[in-house]
Amino acid sequence: MDKAEAAEDIKLIREVMETSARYTNFSGISGIIAGTLALLGCGATYWVTLALPGVLLIRSYVIIWVLVLAISIFQDFALAQRKARRRGEDYFTPATAQVYKAVLPGIFVAVVLSIRALTLRELDAIPALWCLGYGAAICAAGRFSVREARIFGAVQLISGAIGLFLFATPPESLYFLAVTFGVYHILFGLILTRKYGW
């Protein structure tokens, strides 16, 4: 084998591995569902804000958003596994492991800051804090996935930074949450579905 053949072989191997190693088992439909769940969560939050006082409001807030998060994660996981099965691939690949490891720090920060904001009763800062943590998580995971994921992460990060200073008071914080976790996810889900299938 001469150098030219070796170079050609290496190039092909790298192309195949880079394409194969990208995490592409995300489901566009899952983004649309997550966005819809977030909008429903915002609706429920609006209702309890009108109906419930003080501590009950905080507890309701926690219950609503833990439920939204749990259902969103579950359906995302289920649809991603389904997509992998349809493609004849294993879901738990090295690419998947890299993505999971990459998102953990951002998610951890979002959880810690949210709990602190709850104890300080700063509920209106929480949406922006979620955007910042979630955006950081997606930006990190996006290094092992498609370009659209990196863009989405960056949009969440920038929105979170803006939101913390401009939309951390009622009722703007709830509208901000509806846009960043509701509308953004639905739009992102539609883009992914169009480009990568469902």
Partner: protein, 84 residues
């Protein structure tokens, strides 16, 4: 082997689509790799449809990595491309 090294496991149809090979052509390659112990083959059923899945073995991964290292050696000039 490059694809299996990245994803660990893939089924026959996914590999055929990725490599754009005919059934017979792909079968020849997988048979050779399996005979060398570089990949394992698992045959199962999904409902009534047969499914053949290939998984890279530890020795297969080592052989692949050694092959890539050899290619890089040729490019660096540290390995004689004629094999001498």
């Amino acid at each position: 082997m490059a694809h299996l090294a990245a994803v660990n496991e893939a089924d026959f149809l996914a590999l055929r689509k990725l490599l754009d090979l005919s059934d017979g052509n792909l079968s020849v390659h997988t048979t050779v790799l399996e005979s060398k112990g570089y990949i394992e083959c698992d045959k199962s059923f999904v409902g009534r449809k047969p499914r053949t899945t290939y998984r890279i073995t530890p020795s297969g991964r080592r052989a692949f990595e050694e092959y890539v290292a050899a290619l890089e050696g040729i490019l660096r000039g540290s390995v004689d491309p004629t094999g001498r």
